[in-house]
Amino acid sequence: MKGRDTMETHTDAAGIKLGMWIFLFSEIMLFGGLFVLYAVYLTTFTPDFVAGGKQLDLSAGAINTIILLISSFTMAASVTAMRRETKKKALVLLGLTLFFGALFLFNKYVEWGHKIEAGIYPNSPSLAAGPPGANIFFALYYIITGLHGLHVIIGMIVIGFGAAKVAMRGVSTRTHTLVENSGLYWHLVDMIWIFVFPLFYLVI
């Protein structure tokens, strides 16, 4: 077991990271495709999109942006803590990242709840009867923020798994790679939100 460990640390750390990046590139294309959809419909139904954006809660979106940016910072800091082999600090920072991730999801839950209560959800009677542009705007809103939320959940699971490994096994090349790659994923999720926020909450 020990022998295997050292062999992997020498050959895999760079390879695993490269694999992670290639996966992230595919994620960029996935969300990129959805953003293209948004862009095309924005040019077709500009007034409806503007009206739709005004219905979204700007402060909720802005607060979630701040939360996610701070969580990205704590994540990046935990990678630094891992590099410096300060296990406790790394674990605290990973815990904070999870906390902010949960806070983000909670806000999103409240925000979706308000919208659904107001009768704005896919195929709702009010949207189906309204202009097609508004229907498309909110369909895209639910698809993109929903897929993004799913990524936040997956990111939290991976980070939690990494934190548990660090807590059990301490700082090693293996656990370091795990934390670093979960961090890369988390930052990508943050990056996508950076584009979601102005496109949905700030359309003029």
Partner: protein, 96 residues
């Protein structure tokens, strides 16, 4: 072993915190920019600010600045493919 040297770069807490402050400031800028009506340029401006923010995240939080040239080129190629998709779809849509 240039790649090994690059791998040992550790971002200080201070520099990471600086990046966070820059990102928060840019969030403020993008919210403020949305209150000024400059027509369709609003979308362009919002996307420009978002791109700057995303670059900060990629370069410093994701450590891309200190990665190998190979990875950087791959990242740029991905963005080029995204550009091709966006370009061709708009070419199609605008001539219908």
């Amino acid at each position: 072993m240039a790649s090994h040297l690059e791998e040992t770069h550790i971002s200080s807490y201070k520099s990471l915190f600086g990046v966070l402050l820059a990102l928060l400031a840019l969030t403020g800028v993008t919210v403020f920019a949305s209150t000024i009506d400059i027509g369709s340029w609003n979308v362009a401006l919002a996307l420009l600010i978002a791109s700057v923010k995303a670059s900060f995240v990629a370069l410093f939080f994701m450590h891309l600045k200190y990665e190998s040239r190979f990875l950087k080129i791959m990242f740029i190629i991905t963005l080029m493919f995204l550009g091709i998709i966006i370009g061709f779809i708009f070419w199609d849509v605008s001539f219908r």
